[in-house]
Symmetry: C2
Subunit: 221 residues, 2 copies
């Protein structure tokens, strides 16, 4: 692994475990096993490191919203996509903890992130439209209402891990699933009848796995 790369990985780990303010370039260099001078040979300053990490995160997001083109998508595809999304959010959680502070300190980061976010939101809209096409979601009578729900899901997704952390709960991969479920709850009223049936089945299965000696409880209409 190149030194440039090791710096990024080390920094990401340190940032995730502390705050960007507490992690100095000296700390990063030490943890990466190189000298401070060497670190500055590769990156002009800490902000440049953060920006480089952000680019990597952006690349990873690109792989989140992919859907199969050879078949109709189902509710399970939504679920898997959400899981992928949360996994990336988890890997770069430090960024979402301090997002606005970081953006304020570095206008360049701010601009770049706005571009990224715009693109991501666009991808997400396309994503949901595909599910409308394939009959997972009801066809929205009011597009602005539909967009509002997407925005709501967006806000929840991006802030779920932070919410867990502020509640004093340990932030573990298991919590990612709770976030996925929460988003499902918000989307539920907009699912088609067919998708709702699928969901009941899925949830029953999950329930079975969690409490294997009990029977799944299916909600009665």
């Amino acid at each position: 692994m190149t030194t440039k790369r090791r710096i990024l990985d080390t920094a990401t780990t340190l940032f995730n475990n502390a705050t960007t303010g507490e992690v100095s370039t000296n700390h990063i260099a030490e943890a990466a096993g190189i000298s401070s001078g060497n670190l500055y040979y590769h990156y002009p300053n800490k902000e440049a490191i953060i920006r480089a990490i952000l680019e990597q995160m952006f690349d990873d997001f690109g792989e989140v919203w992919v859907l199969p083109h050879d078949r109709k998508v189902t509710l399970t595809d939504v679920q898997n996509t959400m899981s992928r999304l949360f996994e990336v959010l988890w890997r770069f959680r430090f960024f979402y903890r301090e997002q606005l502070a970081l953006m304020r300190r570095d206008p360049e980061l701010s601009t770049r992130h706005q571009q990224m976010q715009g693109q991501r939101i666009g991808e997400q809209e396309q994503f949901f439209l595909r599910f409308v096409e394939d009959g997972v979601f009801k066809v929205p009578e009011d597009p602005s209402h539909f967009r509002a729900i997407i925005t709501a899901c967006w806000v929840i997704a991006n802030n779920w891990l932070s919410f867990v952390e502020t509640s004093g709960e340990a932030v573990e991969p298991a919590q990612l699933e709770r976030g996925v479920n929460l988003i499902f709850r918000v989307m539920e009223p907009y699912l088609s009848e067919a998708a709702l049936a699928t969901q009941a089945t899925l949830r029953g299965e999950r329930y079975d796995q969690a409490h294997s000696n009990q029977t799944a409880v299916a909600k009665q209409p």
Copy 2:
């Protein structure tokens, strides 16, 4: 105004306009028109200042969830409460920008905030139950589902202003209203028929009676 108080107000303003990391105790003292030494006479350190501000925010939250006891509550009461909530969130927005970083740096702040959040969430649940009682919300068949929606609204409320800011839009009082509307959208499927009609009237929108067996409302072309 006492010096102690002026320090808090000045600090709040500075924090809102920059980040807590950029605002040093020297800056606060200077902006408050006192010496650094004097500042340290009143507060032992910057963290204590932030904690004091947080206590003030907590007090302000206490006034948000009050509801009239002499009459039934309506959808308008939800709206007004949300507006009050957003107003407080706006006044102390610096805290929500850096919440987790601040909590990590100061365990005492972290503990206190968790108490506060627990209490606030409790208040919010009571709040919504009142609206169920008074027929604004449908009686939930599944309490856990209801709680999930409340959690969703909580996450959205606390992060809406940050979302606006990260999108690069100016954060103005007008944006507060958009946040209120977004939360309404999420709650909409859980409103009673009666409340839905009220909402349509409030907004001056057409009420599509597709699922209504109540009095017809004039449709606009």
